[in-house]
């Protein structure tokens, strides 16, 4: 009943032995170990925070943002509570309301994420049916002086820009 059966991978004799794969991994580790040991000056490090990392990829899970709709730049979220339901840290607070601008029926009146409670697992992004919440902001450090600074509200989340080219929600 609604269950998809996925065939297990690794059916060959070599894969069932496990050991060849383990040694292949060890080889890689030892290669880096000997290389770095012989030439310490070439280990790639940066002096954070003066130097900022340059290799933030689009799939890096940074601070959340709420996306906009392409047609009218309004909020893409429909307050379906999927993210809040999936969230293992229970850090998302949503209050839904009617939407009377004709774009849709429902939207969040309140959308707060408590970043002090968030574990940045990305389940909210996975659960969202509307591509309304993303973690592609590339923001890896959040600074605040009081606890309230870490509660990001709807306006704040909507104002964050993504580092990917996809500025708007891709949901149809």
């Amino acid at each position: 009943m609604g269950i998809k059966v996925v065939e297990r991978h690794g059916n060959t004799f070599k894969e069932k032995l496990y050991l060849p794969a383990i040694f292949a991994g060890m080889k890689s580790t030892l290669k880096h170990f000997t290389k770095n040991l012989s030439d310490a000056s070439n280990i790639p490090t940066i002096c954070y925070p003066e130097e900022k990392p340059t290799d933030i990829t689009p799939r890096y899970r940074g601070v959340h943002r709420l996306t906009h709709r392409e047609e009218d730049d309004s909020i893409a979220c429909v307050a379906c509570f999927m993210c809040a339901t999936a969230c293992p840290a229970n850090c998302i607070e949503i209050v839904a309301t009617f939407r009377d601008d004709g774009v849709d029926e429902k939207m969040p009146a309140i959308f707060n994420i408590d970043l002090l409670e968030c574990v940045f697992c990305g389940y909210c992004v996975e659960a969202c049916p509307c591509d309304a919440i993303r973690m592609d902001s590339g923001i890896y450090s959040v600074i605040g002086k009081v606890r309230e600074d870490f509660i990001y509200n709807k306006a704040k989340l909507l104002s964050i820009k993504g580092i990917s080219k996809e500025e708007y929600s891709l949901a149809k």
């Binding site: 009943m1 609604g2 999927m82 429902k106 049916p129």
Partner: protein, 447 residues
């Protein structure tokens, strides 16, 4: 007599509907249009079963059982039939589950997970219909989500006999609508929301407040009037707020309310969310006050038998004259579920022999100094000069009383009440504990 369902013999009586037999035996039989209290209509074709000896699949909601009937509800062929019907139902459905309030308790969603899981065969655009149409009486209609099971229509035509709803248009354009210039207007209108198996009819009162999977349910009995309709209290406690009751749903009881509930009772849940705000009184102060000679008590006829007995015992031990006056509203009752007696347990008051004469109460009230009010509304607008009033209350009160004790309301208490037809019913307490003590506990403390 015996019938055989999926190779398992089942006992039933002659003349039973096959559908009822299956439902009563907890055999999963998908259906949209059939409802145990609205009867069969046979339009959705979801309840198809295979019957030995019949060429084609038959609908279970219009088949009566006969001796040794052999039925299959799980065969390959039947599942294929259900899959095809479901595909037809979903052809023009907007699939806006994230917005739809029915998500989580939608039969279309459930059956899709059981029999559906296909790619759409539709090559033309979906037929667009009206969305978020306010029908009146707190009911909002979304024509696109409708599967045309006509439960709501049959409810207004057969049960309330007001006939506001109907289907207009044919084929793809068929939709549920009210007659032009009219609106849904009867005292039981919100039942259609509960009857709707999908999200076509949603309640304006509950709409967008909560997703149903966050809610807990407790079996209870409506305290709106003496009918004692069976209900389910849906409530939850969120991280940022205390426990809150979000809605009442009817619970099926063939003898009392079938599957229905009046709008007044359905919306009476708001009383349970009224928070008590006020000073805290001490039991010692009350003990001091009880030393006075002339005392009278008035107890609400909506209290449970357990509470009434506790109050009665308390009054006997402390030499207090006890009364309980009924809540009568001549304009409220009708010939169906609503009764003029607006208290839940007046039959219980009579059974325990508590005095309910208003003249005697008023005559006694004149000469007495201490009045103890157990959540009765009678004293609300009464002038009580030179009297010390103790108030046990489940909700917030405005008047300044001598002593006020907040007690748990019926959602936070369990007990037994007797309805107008002398049927004894139990109601249960919700999962979360009230901040206020139960009346029985409080009276125990006063001993």
């Amino acid at each position: 007599m015996k019938i055989i369902v999926n190779d398992i013999p089942i006992e039933c009586t002659e003349g039973d509907l096959l559908m009822d037999v299956l439902l009563d035996n907890n055999i999963k039989i998908p259906h949209f249009c059939y409802h145990q209290d609205l009867g069969a209509d046979g339009n959705c074709r979801m309840c198809m079963v295979e019957i030995k000896g019949q060429k084609r699949p038959q609908i279970a909601c219009d088949t009566f059982v006969t001796e040794n009937l052999e039925v299959s509800t799980i065969s390959e062929q039947i599942n294929e039939v259900k899959r095809s019907i479901l595909e037809l139902e979903l052809l023009n459905h907007p699939v806006d589950c994230p917005i739809c309030d029915q998500a989580g308790e939608c039969k279309l969603q459930d059956y899709y997970m059981d029999f559906g899981l296909y790619d759409s065969h539709l090559s033309t655009p979906k037929t667009k219909k009206g969305k978020a149409i306010d029908l009146g009486c707190n009911v909002i209609l979304d024509q696109e989500r409708c599967v045309l099971c006509t439960r709501c229509i049959r409810f207004t035509s057969d049960i309330t006999k007001t006939g506001e709803l109907g289907i207009i248009g044919r084929g793809d354009n068929a939709r549920v609508a009210v007659a032009l210039g009219h609106e849904l207007d009867n005292d039981y209108a919100m039942n259609v929301v509960e009857l709707c198996p999908v999200g076509a009819l949603t309640s304006k009162d509950f709409r967008f407040k909560q997703r149903v999977w966050f809610l807990d349910s407790t079996k209870s009995v409506c305290h709106g009037c003496s009918r004692g309709c069976n209900i389910q209290i849906d409530y939850n406690e969120t991280k940022y707020s205390a426990e809150k009751v979000h809605r009442f749903r009817s619970r099926r009881n063939k003898q009392i309310n079938q599957s229905f509930l009046c709008d007044y009772g359905r919306l009476s849940y708001t009383e349970l969310n009224e928070e008590f705000i006020g000073g805290i009184s001490h039991v010692e102060d009350l003990k001091e006050l009880l030393k006075v000679d002339k005392k009278i008590a008035l107890v609400s006829p909506s209290m449970s038998l357990q509470q009434l007995s506790a109050v009665k015992e308390f009054c006997r031990n402390n030499n207090i004259e006890l009364f309980s006056l009924p809540y009568i509203d001549e304009s409220f009752g009708d010939d169906w579920l609503k009764t003029n007696d607006m208290s839940a347990n007046f039959a219980g008051v009579k059974e325990l022999g508590i005095n309910s004469s208003e003249e005697e109460f008023n005559a006694s009230l004149e000469n007495l100094h201490v009045v103890i009010n157990f959540d009765h509304k009678y004293l609300k607008n009464k002038e009580l000069k030179n009297k010390k009033v103790v108030h046990f209350t489940t909700s917030n009160i405005e008047t300044n009383y001598e002593l006020v004790f907040a007690i748990a309301n019926f959602a936070h208490d369990s007990g037994t009440i007797i309805n107008c037809d002398m049927i004894k019913q139990d109601f249960y307490t919700t999962k979360y504990k009230s901040v206020h003590p139960r009346l029985v506990e409080l009276l125990e403390e006063l001993k």
